[in-house]
């Protein structure tokens, strides 16, 4: 008998990587995605992908990449996996190159590499400043090839609602909703790989795409999967503040020589260009002479926060700083950073080749995610998680250009493992729980559609985002975190009174959003309560009341499980795999 089908949910880099490996090994895949996979959020990644290819004569090694990543993550990453990822990275770059990714080249025709944060080596391969787009397209093209050969079926425009779990606690498929017909359907599978990305929408405005709600992760969390290290949220130092989203200005701008500064005089009214060198405060270069503008993101973000909110500096009274590229020649900028300069130009209306960009930190990435073992399988057998929705590669802070790598590496690992798992799987009893799960979801939909409330879901969402951004990002105080938790509890209560302005059964996007909103609220509590419990400062998690890292108590993975009780999730802690590199003090202001 042929092995059962495998379902992959999410068509970003991680999901597509898993699909390719399964199809290549002779398995059959159903690929589910809310959006056409070519429009997935990976498309937004800009700066590049790390691999210690050592093509610049610097003596870079995969061990150095491993050490930089573990140190950058403040020792919370599971080292065996990170080590393997860094060792696999050069081969992954070669593969992407063979697939046709138009990486920038050196005059000799080799791959070019640039600097990124948290390392002193030129380790980042890049395709202009749209590397994520180029990588996503390359994988999308390979999947299209497998699709045309009948190995992959795509279900674009279907939203994952829940896993189907049988009486023995094993995954047997999913329930999904067709976003046009609003039809609910159960899809059988031997394994389910979640590759559902980030959770930016929980913070209202972020650098993430609209679909990055964390809804799928939250759904399986509520079905019993552990959620790990939820409190570790990366706030990217350089984003363009906006009404609808915070648009990322890639770290590669600094990798290519971009400098961050702020006028020394708080009330300086002159345009940036007219402020003389002596009156500019290059605070990152001054405070971190060795790494300068390329300190890791958590450090840069806190530094910007400090100059703006503690030292009262900014741009003409606004909480922003300059990211300056104007000293670099236009041809180089166009060749290496064209994509992001175009974004700044289009959305701000100024040419960053001529004037320094105005930027501010913005929520960007979750280091935490669904708990998985070394094969990417969660605690529910047959449910896997890969990509941003898993947790184990980036510890307490992710280094730039490691995310594209971890997505592909995790997909390459989960795909073959899931295939093996399904080949060994015994047949389900009865329908494996499909009918029951379908009925549960149908009931939820019916109830929500008929809910006679008054609360607008988009307004509830805004309030969630404001509370999370204010209390749960750069600087965290227990008092404020508790306020945020109370706010979420209030919103969960008001959610019961939610009103759908649209009750139609055709392409009802606000209905789908309202379902996601509930899941966002549940997941928000995991983030907030995890932060409350972790009384230390580590990587992106910073508490002024507990400014030091506390390895004795907190060199541990946070594991949250769903209880359904009013008090929220239950927490436990697990040892971190630190077998290769002994934790040492993390400091970027002096050499380490």
């Amino acid at each position: 008998m042929a092995a059962p089908r495998i379902i992959v949910v999410g068509g970003g880099l991680a999901g597509l990587s898993a699909v390719i490996k399964i199809a290549e090994a002779g398995g059959t895949v159903d690929l589910f995605s809310i959006v056409p996979v070519k429009r997935s959020h990976s498309v937004c990644a800009q700066g590049g992908i790390n691999a210690a290819k050592n093509l610049k004569g610097e003596g870079d090694t995969t061990w150095q990449h491993f050490d930089d990543s573990v140190y950058g993550g403040d020792f919370l990453a599971n080292q065996t996996l990170v080590k393997e990822m860094c060792e696999a990275a050069p081969g992954i770059i070669d593969l992407l190159d063979r697939m046709g990714v138009p990486f920038n080249r050196t005059p000799e025709g080799l791959l070019d590499f640039r600097r990124f944060g948290g390392t002193l080596y030129n380790r980042t391969a890049f395709a202009g400043a749209t590397t994520g787009q180029q990588l996503l397209y390359a994988l999308d093209e390979q999947v299209r090839r497998h699709e045309s050969e009948g190995k992959v079926r795509k279900f674009e425009g279907w939203e994952f609602l829940s896993a189907v779990i049988d009486s023995k606690g094993q995954a047997r498929g999913i329930v999904a909703m067709n976003l046009r017909t609003m039809e609910l359907k159960a899809f059988p599978a031997g394994a389910v790989i979640l590759a559902t990305g980030g959770i930016g929408a929980i913070f209202g405005k972020s650098t993430n795409s609209v679909v990055c709600t964390g809804s799928a992760q939250s759904a399986v969390f509520q079905q019993g999967v552990y959620y790990a290290n939820g409190e570790f949220i990366q706030v990217h130092p350089t984003a363009i503040p906006g009404e609808d989203k915070l648009r990322l200005m890639s770290e590669s701008a600094r990798g290519e020589g971009g400098r961050v500064w702020v006028p020394r005089k708080p009330d300086d009214k002159r345009p940036g260009r007219q402020i003389p060198e002596a009156e500019r405060f290059y605070f990152l270069e001054e405070w971190y002479p060795k790494y300068g503008n390329l300190v890791p993101r958590d450090i840069a973000t806190r530094a910007i926060h400090k100059v703006v909110y503690e030292e009262g500096l900014g741009i003409n009274g606004s909480p922003m700083v300059y990211l300056d590229l104007t000293h670099i020649d236009r041809a180089t900028l166009d060749r290496k950073l064209g994509g992001i300069l175009e974004i700044y130009e289009k959305f701000v209306g100024e040419d960053p080749r001529d004037v320094p960009m105005k930027i501010f930190p913005g929520m960007h990435y979750t280091m935490g995610g669904l708990w998985v073992d070394n094969n990417q399988m969660t605690n529910i057998p047959g449910v896997y998680a890969i990509g941003e929705c898993d947790y184990q590669y980036h510890g307490a802070n992710r280094l730039g250009a490691n995310s594209l790598l971890s997505c592909i590496f995790a997909g390459f690992r989960a795909g073959p493992h899931a295939l093996k798992y399904t080949q060994d799987l015994t047949a389900a009893e009865g329908d494996g729980g499909q009918a029951a799960e379908l009925a549960r979801q149908a009931e939820l939909n019916k109830k929500l559609m008929a809910n006679p409330g008054t609360e607008n879901p988009f307004k509830l969402w805004r309030e969630l985002g404001e509370a999370m951004t204010e209390h749960v990002t750069v600087i965290r105080y227990n008092k404020n975190l508790k306020k945020a938790d109370e706010k979420i509890v209030e919103l969960l209560e008001r959610y019961k009174n939610v009103n759908l302005a649209d009750r139609s059964q055709w392409a009802n996007t606000s209905f789908a959003f309202t379902r996601q909103l509930y899941n966002m609220l549940e997941l928000a509590r995991v983030i907030v309560q995890g932060a409350i419990l972790r009384d230390e400062s580590r990587g992106a998690h910073y508490k002024p009341d507990f400014p030091e890292r506390n390895d004795e108590k907190f060199l541990k993975t946070t594991k949250a499980s769903f209880t359904g009780e009013p008090a929220g999730p239950r927490f436990e802690y697990e040892e971190v795999d630190t077998q290769y590199i002994k934790p040492r003090l993390r400091r970027y202001d002096v050499a380490h």
Binding site: P36, K38, D97, R98, G100, Q133, E243, D244, I343, V348
Partner: protein, 249 residues
């Protein structure tokens, strides 16, 4: 001070069979506001300018920074991306309509899957032997990378197809986006192994000869892809291929 407002007229259609109606909205102006911000604002307060309760507008969007290709629509009659359409640059009332050349789903959402089918038909991929470790890829001069890269930035928004007079049911024309991808893969050192097949796929009905050189595509492309260059290069290659195939018969 009176609040500055923004006027919208949005074409609504509940489903493909329902009649289309126009609704007017008046929103508070905000600095840096774009069309997607306005649509989000309407979702949070779905009330028309004359005070009537309505439904949030259905439209596609995702990245909001003009790289995912989702939010293409007709804005004041012009096919473009909603996210990068800043309110201050638009004449009011701002009229939003769905793209007209694709099957309507609802309101501003249409079904553009034809493009992805076209990409399948022309085998828009590099046929690698496998994903196992086979060493480094082919060397490539920076000049060649710089020629390929712009073509590889196509976001599949379909604006080029919307504005093309030849892209319609009568011709079955594949459109500029697909032709540009043929050039991209035919130029790749490994991708060119499928060059003949791709050119043959473009030589029949609906193929490259349907192009009428109106050049609307290159003007509408939000990413400034060199579409007309690609069409003329691929057009020449298709003719060469046809001659070759003829001689071989």
């Amino acid at each position: 001070m009176a609040t500055k407002t923004v006027q919208f007229e949005i074409k609504r259609q509940a489903n493909p069979d329902a009649p289309a109606v126009w609704e007017r909205f008046e929103l508070e102006w905000r600095p840096g506001m774009n069309v997607t911000t306005a649509l989000m604002e309407i979702a949070a307060n779905p009330v028309t300018a004359d005070g009537r309760q309505t439904t949030p507008v259905t439209y596609e969007s995702n990245c909001l920074e003009e790289v995912c290709g989702s939010c293409a629509m007709r804005i004041n009659g012009k096919a473009r991306m909603a996210c990068s359409s800043l309110i201050d640059d638009l004449e009011q009332p701002i009229r939003l309509e769905p793209l007209s050349k694709f099957p309507l789903v609802r309101d501003l959402q249409v079904d553009r899957s034809v493009l992805f089918e076209n990409l399948k038909a022309v085998k828009a991929w590099v046929p690698i032997d496998g994903t196992y470790d086979l060493g480094s890829g082919p060397r490539m001069l920076p000049q060649d990378q710089e020629e390929s890269y712009p073509l590889s930035r196509c976001i599949s928004c379909t604006c080029c197809m919307e504005v093309c007079p030849q892209f319609n049911e009568a011709t079955g024309f594949v459109g500029a986006a697909t032709i540009a991808q043929v050039k991209l893969f035919n130029n790749h050192p490994t991708g060119k192994v499928l060059k003949a097949e791709r050119l043959q796929a473009l030589s029949g009905d609906g193929g490259i000869q349907e192009c009428g050189y109106a050049q609307n595509c290159v003007e509408a492309c939000p990413k400034q892809l060199p579409l007309t260059n690609a069409i003329s290069d691929v057009g020449r290659d298709v003719i060469v291929q046809k001659v070759r195939d003829l001689l071989r018969k």
